[in-house]
């Protein structure tokens, strides 16, 4: 999607040229402002007759040109990242859930408007299938509203006059007129676009700190080079302005100074590519600091579709008996769970014999409800006989259950086959051997599977084993988090045994089992009070407090408006495991800044060795010994150094935009690795590159 966003180069060039304005640089990038001022100084000296020694004018002109190009490379990187980010974020517009609402106008007519245009007090008409655009209350009508995206309750709720309804929920049947009460939030995409325009972008604390540090470092070098110029002058060494300006620009952290705006914007832009909208730059940075992530089990760690994987008999029953009972109990069950039970029984051949099947098909269905929390069938025995001697005894898999039910029919006694959670079913029925049943139930739970008990009238015959699958890739993601030293907390309504088993399978650090919705907020606060930086994912309205309280709150786009308003990031793909990507990105953003800073400062060592001996050698023979790189001449040395200094900026644009190669590992290993690569590497690279440029320039000059 967003990857398709194209960069318009004409626009990039024009924008970057416009930003070379000294006013813009003075306000946004003081380091580049100094670079530009250096160029202006050199050009001014060229314009004053006699100010530049004859024969040195070409060098002055070349250096002035290189300085302008250096500043331009910086504005170029800024423009590239900004326009790229804007294109990407714009591409997200289509994904932000913007729905068409049918607004009732003053005269009673209905007009279609975008949900973002709704104001409190507006009334909208809703038909089956419509999403409720914003929180409000029912003015007229009655309807079943699917609120499962907020509450997790699969049964639609009945909503009528004066009931509150929530944005993001869907009308299943019936129709409503709803009065909107909530103010439209500013579109999230609009907010993110502000984040990527470098002039308006609010800077984060660590970015402000880094800019300060770089500014002070530049001031130090300004004092150093200025004093050096005067010291040389008073010692009668006849210093050269072009050399001094070059030394200053070479020493100032131009590389990081030039790329700093681009790095910040690229962070937002890379999030956008992952389909995540950040509401503030702070949120992105905080995500790098996250050391505890709180995850929901269902939907984040597991797929949330439990499927039947086996039947376990109790007492004297066989697996086939239980399979057949499960088939009967689920025969009219349209839920995914129910269908998976029927499919499993069919595949194992545990289908009831035909007379029983016919009875089962016409049996009264007991639907699942929130109050009873079980489902199944109640047989309505037909009077039609099955032949002269009845059907006789059935023999085959599941014969015990089949014959038991047929006997009940013979006697005309009522028969119910139900399935439900352990505690519910045990309240109505008893297993033949309670102790061994209990052990079996526990064993299933401890494997992270969910037992569903099956009862025929008051006897529990066995259980269906339901299993929730881990989402693909979640285990790898969690392993990366733990390698980075981030602890994961899984929150679930399951019993502790099941929860712990799943946690173990997925690689979760700790679980909060039998959790109620409000426990999420408690968990966030508890972890924060221990000093952790907490990331949390959520989509429901009851997640909103936790999302707001957490340092990084990632709301799903499929979630409610309340959740999205409370969170500081929104995942347009609605994949909760994206929080792992967000954390990695946040870290990468800071590492990139640190890496280029270390690189930029380490570069200075080499620059002293290229420029200083050349400045001093003619007058101070001892200093010539510092020309360890055996550069050809002062002219070639200064050109090589300044070209390197300029070219390194565009050379690092890809790194700034993409971020440093990030492998999840312990912070200690990462520190050593980055110090070696960017610190020592940054110290060594310019020696090689400047020497190579010096050879090239010497060759070009002599070839002329």
């Amino acid at each position: 999607m967003a990857a398709g966003a194209r960069l318009r180069w004409g626009q990039v060039i024009a924008e970057s040229a416009r930003r070379l304005s000294p006013l813009y640089l003075a306000a946004n990038n003081p380091i580049m402002f100094v670079v530009e001022a250096g160029a202006v100084l050199l050009i001014a000296l060229l314009a004053i007759p006699g100010a530049v020694a004859p024969g040195r004018a070409p060098l002055y002109a070349a250096l002035a040109a290189i300085l302008v190009v250096t500043a331009w490379f910086s504005t170029l990187s800024e423009s590239i990242s900004e326009l790229q980010a804007r294109a990407r974020v714009d591409a997200l517009r289509g994904l932000e859930r913007e729905i068409i609402a049918h607004r009732i106008s003053e005269g009673g007519g209905v007009a279609d408007v975008r949900s973002s245009e709704l104001r409190p007090g507006d009334r909208v008409r809703l038909s089956p299938g419509d999403f409720i655009p914003r929180d409000g209350f029912v003015v007229e009508g009655t309807a079943l509203v699917d609120e499962s995206m907020l509450t997790g309750e699969s049964e639609p709720a009945l909503r009528s006059r004066d009931d509150r309804v929530l944005g993001g929920t869907r009308v299943v049947s019936g129709s409503l007129v709803v009065e909107v009460t909530a103010e439209a939030g500013k579109g999230f995409v609009d907010r993110m676009i502000e984040l990527v325009s470098s002039a308006k972008r609010p800077r984060t604390q660590s970015e402000v700190s880094l800019s300060l540090l770089l500014l002070v470092l530049s001031l130090v070098f300004l004092a150093v080079v200025g004093s050096l110029y005067f010291a040389l002058y008073f010692m009668g060494y006849g210093p050269d302005v072009a050399m001094s300006v070059s030394l200053l620009v070479a020493l100032m952290p131009t590389t990081i100074g030039g790329l700093l705006p681009a790095i910040g914007i690229a962070g937002v832009s890379r999030l956008a590519r992952e389909g995540v909208i950040a509401k503030s730059g702070r949120a992105i940075e905080a995500s790098g600091d996250t050391d505890v992530v709180i995850l929901d089990k269902t939907g984040t760690v597991t797929e949330g579709n439990r499927r039947a994987v086996g039947f376990v008999p109790f007492g004297g029953y066989t697996e086939a008996d239980v399979g057949m009972a499960a088939f009967i109990a689920s025969i009219g069950d349209a839920t995914k769970e129910g269908r998976s039970i029927v499919e499993l029984a069919e595949s194992m051949g545990y289908v009831p014999p035909s007379p029983l099947m016919e009875e089962a098909l016409v049996a009264r269905r007991i639907d699942f409800s929130a109050e009873t929390r079980y489902s199944g069938v109640e047989f309505m025995w037909s009077r039609r006989p099955y032949g002269p001697r009845g059907v006789g005894r059935y023999s085959g898999p599941g014969e015990a259950i089949a014959n038991e039910l047929m006997e009940l029919r013979e006697r005309g006694e009522p028969a119910r086959v139900i399935k439900g959670s352990v505690d519910v079913v045990l309240r109505m029925a008893r297993p033949p051997d309670p102790r061994s049943a209990e052990r079996a139930i526990e064993e299933v739970s401890s494997r992270g599977e969910t037992p569903l008990l099956l009862a025929v009238n008051d006897r529990v015959v066995g259980m269906v084993v339901l299993k929730d699958r881990l989402k693909p890739g979640v285990r790898e993601g969690l392993r990366e988090l733990s390698e980075m030293g981030i602890r994961t907390l899984m929150i679930t309504g399951d019993n502790p045994l099941t929860a712990r088993a799943i946690a173990e399978e997925a690689g979760i650090w700790s679980v909060i089992a039998r959790a109620r919705p409000e426990d999420k907020l408690r968990a966030v606060e508890e972890q924060q009070s221990l000093g952790h930086v907490v990331g949390v994912v959520g989509d429901g309205t009851n997640d909103a407090p936790a999302l707001a309280r957490a340092d990084v709150g990632l709301a799903m786009n499929s979630g409610t408006a309340a959740a999205k308003d409370a969170a500081n990031m929104i995942d347009l793909e609605s994949d909760p495991s994206n929080i792992i990507k967000v954390v990695k990105l946040g870290k990468q953003l800071l590492t990139t800044r640190g890496a280029i800073t270390a690189f930029s400062i380490a570069n200075d060592i080499a620059k002293y060795f290229t420029l200083l001996p050349m400045m001093l050698a003619p007058v101070d023979p001892a200093a010539a010994a510092l020309n360890v790189m055996r550069l050809h001449s002062p002219t070639t040395a200064v050109l090589a150094t300044m070209i390197f200094n300029a070219v390194i900026i565009p050379a690092l644009i890809p790194l700034a935009l993409r971020g440093t190669g990030f492998r999840p590992t312990s912070t200690r290993r990462m520190l050593v690795r980055n110090v070696l690569i960017f610190g020592l590497g940054g110290a060594a690279l310019p020696f090689l590159a400047i020497k190579a440029l010096d050879i090239l320039i010497t060759f070009l000059i002599s070839a002329r």
Binding site: Q205, S206, V208, S209, L210, L212, L213, V216, L217, L219, V220, A223, V224, G226, S227, L228, F230, A231, L232, F234, M235, G236, L251, E285, A286, G288, D289, D291, G485, L530, G531, H532, G586, K587, L589, L590, T591, G594, A595, T597, A598, I601, A602, I605, Y608, L612, L616, D620, A622, A623, L626, F662, T667, R668, M670, L671, V672, N674, V675, F678
Partner: protein, 523 residues
């Protein structure tokens, strides 16, 4: 002297200093961590000032109150010193010109002890009241500030302690240590008298001055020859012992911090300091000495004394600087650029903590965490304060250096400037800015320009960083702290190496051209 013997002497010196510093860190930590009722010995010190000052002695101070109290006390001592020197003729001594009096007073109150005068300029009364007394005030102020700094880092509070209490207790501790070490110096042959002389050489209360001169990292000598004089530093033994005294307090402050914030942390900071000191001493020894060292002491002892003196910000010298090789001079300059390996008592520790902040900031970014120190977020304000502390030092060296040449004062004093003359001027201001006190020029620089310029640099070099560092302490004292693992661990060899590397890199990048222009080109 065989190299094995030299290595053994250095190893013994550091082993003894570190062990003694470890022991001394306990009382220092108990001062930093003082809460009523506190140890009995502290109560004994407190008895008198508590009665005199009342609640002013015990109320908690914010960082700005603390700074004001420190400035007020130092200001009073500065004024007193100045007045005493001006009144010297009335007490039968020679007249001291006001610019020189200002220079002397500033020099001693700032723990610098740059001496633009010859010893005979001062009467015995002045030596005791102006010099020796102020030699207690300066390190006690530095130690007090570092106690407040440690508190700011180690505990959350609106205040960072009471300066008067910290100062009195620090001074008492220094007094006890100085008395004991003066007795040992006397035993080694340093004179302690109020009158008399050997030939043309006056005797005086030398041992009492000598002990606090070294212990408090002051550095100003009784005699112009400083520790090259046999009366200040009679033998190889006293040379060793005096080196030990210089190292004692600077090494014990980080360990005291370790007692408050975890010994691992203290040891890591100490490790970085020792690594730097080792490097600089090695460099000085590698460079060697030239003609002109005291034959009594020999090149090795002289170099060891001098490099320990520069590393600890003491500034005492066992020979003239002209007797040092260019490489040794470079090492001395580096020590003064860094000010923190280990630096003077209190101040050195605080400078190192500023480097700790800068290192943690960059290292934190490198591991993808917003930077923090000991569970506290490093905010833009903290970075601003730390960076400003780092910026002040080169400005205080380089701007006056240019001014001295621009005003023609350097040329007037030294003749046409070459590498040696440049080095001499660079050294003068570096020593003043770093509150070190060693100097090429000495009494030669007794002129209104040099007296006033160095006085200004010494005062700014002392109080501007202390103000910034106390502000940092106040900022940390107010911070929330988390008890989670540090993103960049501030203990262990890795951090010590990073810290030292960062400090060295920043100092070298700042001053490299001047080292090249000066000592490197002296040939």
């Amino acid at each position: 002297m065989p190299i094995i013997y030299q290595a053994a002497q250095i190893a013994l010196l550091f082993a003894l200093s570190i062990s003694a510093a470890y022991a001394l860190s306990r009382p220092i930590a108990s001062l930093a961590d003082w809460r009523p009722p506190g140890p009995r010995w502290v109560s004994a010190i407190d008895a008198l000032p508590r009665r005199v000052l009342g609640p002013a002695y015990s109320r908690g101070m914010t960082w700005s109150d603390y700074l004001l109290a420190l400035l007020a006390l130092n200001g009073v001592v500065l004024a007193l010193d100045f007045a005493l020197l001006e009144l010297q003729p009335a007490l039968g001594g020679p007249r001291v010109p006001p610019d020189l009096a200002l220079n002397i007073a500033s020099s001693f109150v700032t723990n610098t002890d740059l001496q633009h005068y010859a010893g005979r300029m001062l009467t015995v009364t002045s030596q005791m009241l102006v010099i020796t007394y102020t030699m207690f005030v300066a390190p006690a102020s530095g130690l007090a500030a570092s106690l407040a700094f440690m508190r700011g880092l180690a505990r959350r509070s609106a205040t960072i302690g009471n300066f008067y209490a910290d100062f009195t207790r620090s001074a008492a501790l220094l007094l006890a240590l100085a008395t004991a070490s003066a007795l040992l110096l006397v035993a080694m042959g340093v004179p302690q008298a109020l009158s008399g002389g050997i030939g043309a050489v006056r005797l005086g209360p030398v041992a009492s001055l000598e002990s606090i001169k070294l212990l408090g990292n002051n550095g100003g000598g009784y005699y112009a020859a400083n520790s090259a004089s046999p009366l200040e530093n009679p033998s190889g033994l006293s040379n060793f012992y005096e080196s030990f005294l210089m190292l004692l307090l600077p090494l014990s402050v980080p360990l005291a911090f370790g007692r408050l914030a975890g010994m691992g942390r203290g040891a890591t900071i100490l490790g970085a300091m020792l690594g730097g000191a080792g490097l600089l001493i090695g460099l000085a020894l590698l460079g060697g000495a030239r003609a002109g060292v005291e034959p009594r002491l020999g090149a090795f002892d002289t170099l060891l004394f001098n490099s320990v003196s520069m590393a600890t910000g003491t500034g005492a010298t066992a020979s003239g600087l002209a007797a040092m090789s260019p490489l040794a001079v470079s090492s001395f300059l580096m020590a003064m650029f860094l000010q923190s390996v280990p630096g003077a008592v209190g101040a050195g520790f605080m400078y190192m903590m500023v480097f700790v902040l800068i290192t943690l900031f960059v290292a934190g970014l490198l591991v993808g965490k917003t930077p923090e120190i000991m569970g506290m977020k490093i905010t833009p304000r903290d970075v601003k304060l730390a960076a400003a502390t780092f910026l002040v030092h080169p400005l205080l060296i380089l701007l006056p250096l240019v001014a001295a040449f621009a005003a023609g004062q350097a040329q007037h004093l030294l003749g046409p400037p070459g590498p040696l003359e440049f080095t001499e001027v660079l050294y003068e201001f570096t020593s003043a800015a770093a509150n070190n006190g060693s100097s090429y020029l000495g009494a030669l620089a007794d002129s209104p320009f040099w007296n006033c310029a160095t006085a200004a640099v010494m005062l700014a070099g002392r109080y501007v960083p202390i103000a910034l560092m106390l502000a940092l302490a106040g900022s940390f004292a107010g911070k929330e702290r988390r008890s989670t693992p540090e993103p960049v661990e501030t203990r262990g060899a890795l951090f010590a190496a990073l810290l030292l590397g960062t400090a060295l890199l920043l100092a070298v990048l700042t001053f490299f051209p001047f080292l090249v222009l000066g000592p490197f080109s002296m040939g």
